[in-house]
Amino acid sequence: MEYTLPDQFNEIQPLAEEWAFADEAARNHKRRASSMAEIQGFYDAMRPQMDSAMTYLNGFKLADTPEEAKTVLYLALMFMEVSTAVEMYQEVDVPESFPAERYNILSPSADHFMTAG
């Protein structure tokens, strides 16, 4: 896995190795394995980058997304993953909810939509 981001995303380069995942299940697992302080730190670092990340990514056809851009995409998806923790709970996982380990996430990976067709 290549974690080097394009220069314009230097500020979030340090996040790439730990927070970039193609799968929803992997992102949710990472979220639940992190502390609230780690999640807040990730969210705060990503939030000012979201608009430029989406503009940058939209410069590619999905099927032609280069590897370094995929890492930006995975980080942006992770921002959405942790958004409810930061914005709604100030807790890592949904309070008063069905146990995460019994709620199986079977969603298609982001990579599924980056293949042609």
């Binding site: 990514l57 590619f60 999905l62 995409l73 409810t84 709604m88 309070p95 069905f98 709620y103 969603s107």
Partner: protein, 401 residues
């Protein structure tokens, strides 16, 4: 003199006097005998949703569905002729299962002695065939189960001669939903959980909006309530025979979270796009054409729900395992993302829906535990919980028939 009757103004339930307004016996959700009657009289005689065509999109694609309530395992397969069929997953030689999981195949080879069936269910190869007596391969197909699709949703019915076609079973909802762009959306999220609660306890949590202000106070209350409507409401409720529908109130003026605001710049989110193009919706989707609209709830009896909104829908199955165990499955559909911005935008909806559904499921196991004690012998439904009341009435009428 009688005490004055009190009750809701503009009651929905008043339009359906056959439902009554009284309490409902808990027998329907705790009695093993009742559950066995449901198995025999309802599930073995109903069209049951087993998924959607996009799960087996190409010829040769198949999926195995183990349906505890029917005590059977089914193979749902798209034949080389593109027709979707269902078979009992049992080899006519000595009964072994011939398929597992899902995949794409030219046929099914039984792992016991190698009998091989094509995707249309015909037996095409028997090793050492001449050892059998008076044998004709044509006599030993996989046992077929009635299988039909409606708007891409795949249903099965294990009754030999179903009393209704699937289209008759869907009934008025077919006309109401005509034109909804089911086929223009792809499955973006899929989730599964085994819940220790009766299947009706589970589906009830998804066919009323009364709980929104409480269960979803952290996630969704802002979007689905307002100062004028502090308790989320169902409107445009219609009962169509065994089936039912209602629209869920939403407040388009709510303040979105920062991430939802980012998401909305690149695509429709759960609430914020609901007001656009209302007049293009099918007649039975947001029939009031109200901007205060989140999505609709539609239930096709007995255990399939699909909830269309603007730019998304979700569909869920409530598959009974035992009297107090249910396999719950939900799939979220949105337009196939055309670019990464849309994908990221959709992720906001996907994560929120996932968290919301985990809230929905949270109360069900403790509810079932309490009901199982027998301390209460009835539960009660408000006018706003009419879809739940309707479910019990329809089930009870069949179980006691």
């Amino acid at each position: 003199m009688n005490a004055p009757q009190t009750g809701p103004a503009n009651a929905i339930t008043a339009r359906y006097p056959e439902l009554g307004t009284g309490p409902v016996s808990t027998e329907a959700v705790i009695s093993p005998e009742y559950f066995e009657k449901e198995r025999e009289k309802i599930f073995k005689k109903s069209w049951l949703n087993v998924g959607r065509i996009d799960q087996i999109p190409s010829p040769g694609d198949y999926m195995v569905r183990d349906l505890d309530i029917l005590n059977t395992s089914l193979i749902i397969v798209q034949g080389q002729d593109s027709q979707v069929r269902a078979f009992h997953n049992a080899c006519p030689h000595r009964g072994n299962k011939v398929a597992q999981g899902k995949g794409n195949t030219k046929g099914f080879a039984c792992g016991f002695h190698g009998w091989t069936f094509n995707t249309e269910g015909s037996l095409v190869f028997v090793p050492d065939e001449e050892q059998f007596f008076d044998f004709d391969k044509g006599d030993f197909c996989l046992k077929a189960v009635n299988c039909e699709t409606w708007n891409g949703f795949v249903f099965i019915n294990v009754e030999e001669q179903p009393s209704e076609t699937l289209l008759e079973w869907v009934g008025e909802l077919d006309r109401q939903l005509d034109g909804y762009p089911f086929d223009d959306m792809v499955c973006l999220g899929e989730y599964r959980a085994e819940v220790k609660a009766n299947w009706k306890v589970v589906i009830d949590a998804f066919q009323e909006a009364y709980h929104v202000a409480f269960v979803h106070r952290r996630t969704a209350t802002g979007a689905y309530t307002s100062p004028e409507t502090p308790y989320c409401k169902l409107s445009a409720v219609e009962l169509y025979g065994r089936n039912r529908r209602g629209s869920v109130y939403a407040n388009p003026d709510f303040t979105p979270s920062p991430s939802a605001a980012v998401a909305f710049k690149h695509g429709p989110t759960f609430i914020q796009a609901a007001q656009a193009d209302l007049d293009k919706l099918p007649v039975g989707v947001n029939p009031e054409r109200t901007p205060n609209w989140g999505f609709d709830i539609n239930v096709i009896f007995p255990n399939f729900r699909f909830d269309p909104g603007q730019g998304f829908y979700f569909a869920d199955n409530f598959l009974p395992i035992s009297v107090d165990q249910t396999l719950y499955e939900i799939r979220l559909y949105m337009p196939r993302p055309r670019n990464a911005g849309e994908m990221i935008s959709q992720e906001n909806t996907r994560v929120l829906l996932r968290d919301i559904v985990r809230e929905d499921l949270n109360t069900l196991e403790t509810t079932q535990e309490a009901l199982n004690t027998g301390v209460m012998d009835t539960i009660r439904f408000s006018d706003q919980e009419i879809l739940c009341r309707h479910q019990y009435k329809v089930v009870d009428d069949i179980v006691n028939s």
